[in-house]
């Protein structure tokens, strides 16, 4: 019950802080940019439009959710509302997970909203699969943003850490491919660097395998690939939630 109240408060704050309007503006800008670029294209104009709109909306959704979570938590800390909440007879895990549930729900609603324009270029089933993937990706981003906002002192460092985690998660496969390419030399330094990259990849979410634009352009992958990519997102989001609760337990009231 307390978790539901905290989740509702997070949703209410998102609505009052104007997230809906910013999301609507981001959607309009993405559609307008896609339409403009499609005018310049001499072929594949519909595919180009779908690719540009989908990738822009995905990036906007991630940025919006991360900044919303970080700004909301920082406001709570600066207004000393968090101190008051910690004095309440509520388990800390309930308090943390309640907030996370609210932000995650916010991400799920945003994913559904951002998937709507894509129905113009792809089949409803494909768009639904893309939206589910984006929703889970935003749950993961909410968990990461909440973790960094609670554990780092400044909102700038929290946003930077969150962006770093996200961008590395999306670029890691390409980095591994470059490090292990046939033209790479076999020196000790290079082998060490390659192993370091492989080790780092183990600690990062495989964000390049989810919410893929190619699903909208060329069709869905097989069910096994799709569910395995989404399963990996759930595991990483759960890990971030546990790490966040762990850190929150140590917080001085």
């Amino acid at each position: 019950m307390s978790t539901a109240i905290l989740a509702r408060l997070a949703l209410l704050e998102a609505r009052r802080s104007g997230l809906v309007w910013v999301a609507a503006a981001a959607m309009l800008i993405a559609i307008a940019l896609g339409a403009f670029l499609a005018q310049v294209a001499i072929t594949e104009s519909r595919l180009l439009q779908a690719a540009v709109v989908a990738s822009l909306l995905r990036l906007s959704a991630v940025f919006l959710i991360a900044s919303q979570v970080i700004a909301s938590v920082r406001r709570e800390i600066d207004d000393r509302r968090l101190e008051l909440a910690l004095a309440l007879p509520l388990p800390r895990s309930t308090q943390y997970l309640g907030r996370l549930a609210g932000f995650a729900l916010c991400g799920i609603v945003l994913a559904g909203f951002f998937a709507l324009p894509l129905l113009a270029w792809a089949s409803p089933a494909t768009v639904a699969a893309w939206a589910l993937s984006l929703a889970l990706e935003l749950v993961l981003v909410s968990a990461a943003a909440l973790f960094f906002a609670m554990s780092l002192a400044s909102p700038v460092s929290a946003l930077f850490a969150c962006a770093g985690l996200y961008l590395l998660g999306r670029a890691m496969t390409a980095m591994q491919a470059i490090a292990g390419g046939p033209l790479a030399d076999g020196s000790l330094v290079h082998r060490l660097a390659r192993q370091a990259i492989d080790a780092l990849a183990l600690l990062l979410p495989a964000l390049d395998r989810v919410t893929r634009t190619e699903w909208l352009l060329y069709g869905m992958p097989d069910l096994r690939t799709y569910t395995s990519a989404l399963g990996a997102l759930c595991i990483y989001a759960a890990l971030l939630a546990v790490a966040g609760v762990f850190d929150f337990q140590r917080r001085a009231s």
Binding site: L37, A38, Q39, V40, A41, I42, T43, E44, S45, R46, L47, L48, A51, V52, A54, S55, R58, L167, R170, A171, T173, A174, M175, A177, I178, G181, L207, D208, R209, R212, T213, E214, L217, Y218
Partner: protein
Amino acid sequence: MSSDERPLADVPPSMWFALAIGLAVQMAWRGASPPVAPEAQDLPSPPNVSSLKLAALGEPEALARLNMLYLQAYDYSGTNSIPYARLDYARLVAWLDAILGLDPRSEYPLFAAARVYAENPDPARTRVALEFVYRQFFADPDRRWSSLAHAALIAKHRLKDLVLARRYAAAIDRYTRSPDVPLWARQMEVFILEDMNELEAARILLGGMLASGTIKDPAEAQFLARRLKELEERSGRR
């Protein structure tokens, strides 16, 4: 307006004036320096496919298409009366190669090579673009045959190189397997040998593609119709 803001009327007139002047100067400055169209010699060497994949951040399909738009802008406008006449075609083909590496299922690079860059008045440049289409055809014949079919027409009618045109047409016949490839495309070698002019051949090719549903994109249909009209006007003048 929230309660901690003062009404606009409280702003001193000097501030309104300064704001208006600032805005006017900005607009005048920007208006006086229109954007410069990129020129042929400005086209840099392409980054390798791995770097492009890294920069794509998991969105290679979107980046591939944006790169095509970026490439299209080179040496097309400005003071150049013949589009792409000064473009370094070796560099251009390297770009098209990299973009195709980024999204191998995109037909944009091959379409542009066959329909835009190959239609250059310089035969040497045309051959570079056609060879690119021919080379890339083998990676995915069932998807890329339509660009090679157009390349065969260019080879016959623009380059007057019947041997090259037959080589392209024979490749379509020999390497395509999909039932989606229409029969007329497989039999292209026959109408390459027939004595028909460029306009007739282009009409057959375009009509066949429209009838078989190969052209689905509205921009592509518009572009091809425009090209056909230009060809008709050119033939009418002769």
